[in-house]
């Protein structure tokens, strides 16, 4: 029985997802501006990281490559720009783990448990 792939299992672990998000953020924003160590679930994209809208797109696209189950563009388009900018790193991590959990549940149903 084909189970969820390894990448999806990684996506269920909030700690691992946070590490991935941290690494990509440091790459997108530049490590001289943001220290990987300082990024946590409470970190706000706007207030703490002062992220630019185009950098958030780059973050989403890189996460998209890493977590194929998440439609980042579609998810972001359901929010107002103000909501997107007010997000925390934890909100993003939650979205990735929640959608991964939903996918695993769906696959379990399909494959009869």
């Amino acid at each position: 029985m084909p189970g969820p792939n390894v990448r999806d299992e990684d996506a269920l672990n909030a700690g691992l997802v946070l590490d991935v998000v941290r690494t990509i953020l440091a790459d997108v924003i530049g490590e001289d501006y943001v220290s990987v160590i300082e990024i946590g679930p409470e970190t706000s994209f706007q207030a703490d990281l002062e992220i630019e809208s185009i950098e958030l797109v780059a973050l989403g696209e890189q996460l998209q490559e890493r977590y194929a189950h998440v439609d980042f563009a579609g998810w972001l388009s359901t929010m107002e720009v103000d909501e997107i900018i007010a997000m925390t790193v934890g909100d993003l991590v939650d979205h990735i783990t929640t959608t991964a959990q939903e996918q695993v549940s769906r696959e379990t149903e399909v494959h009869g448990g």
């Binding site: 809208s53 490559e65 194929a68 563009a73 972001l76 720009v81």
Partner: protein, 285 residues
Amino acid sequence: MADLVVRGVRFNVVRLGPSAHAQQAPEVPPDPYRDGRRPVVFLHGLIMDNLSSFYYTMAPAVAAKTDTVLYDLRGHGLSERPMEGYRIEDGVDDLVGILDALGIDEPVHLVANSFGGTIALATALRRPERVAGMALIEAHPAFSGWGQEVIEDLLDLISGFDGPGIRDYLATEAPRTLRRMVKTCEELVIVSSMGEDLPASEPTDPDRLLAVACPTLLLYGENSDIIDRAFVLEESIAGSELVVVDGCSHALLMENPKEVERRVTAWLDEQARVALAEEIGAASR
């Protein structure tokens, strides 16, 4: 998201499409016009703008139905900022180069905002075989003298940064986003050749626009400061259709993104429906 090197410049390109997530949304009914659709390319505005203004608004809705490309123009967003190549003709060549690099050789629909519309109109004139149609939001046609006017306005804006205390504020407390915005503006307008290139670009005057043959949707805000261009474009371009949105200014895309999305996606549907009907008609003859 991928970097593409075109004409010696690294471009930030995002390609979205219907295939990636189609299987996740079984509730979405099949698209009756699918075979009539063309790829869509989004073109953003000048200086402060980048592909995110479409990525956050209508791009996902468009990408649900067709192959969709967004990119940061030369010098903008996360694309490279070379010191030259800012004539409108360069913008056309960059666009065609990106399409070539992506292997898109069929004509595309251009969806453009403001200065993106300047490039779209020039593309329809210079490379008509690459353009199936245009949805132009608050387009700035490059009428004679337009480039000079734009640069003078930008220089005025930049001279404002020299007001009392502003440089100090930018160097110390100003948010990173504002500092970056000022830097982008100064680098493009003063340091790069944009200041000379835009005024030296070949104009797209109303008499030349008579040659635009593709279907064109014109969207303008009721209170736009460039609404006069809307009427000139409507008169010059035979296949054009003008929609004026109530209560909006030149910032139409940001002020009423849902209405712009509704108008543009309905227009794209109509283009696909017509293309499909023509195809079926041709096949049955």
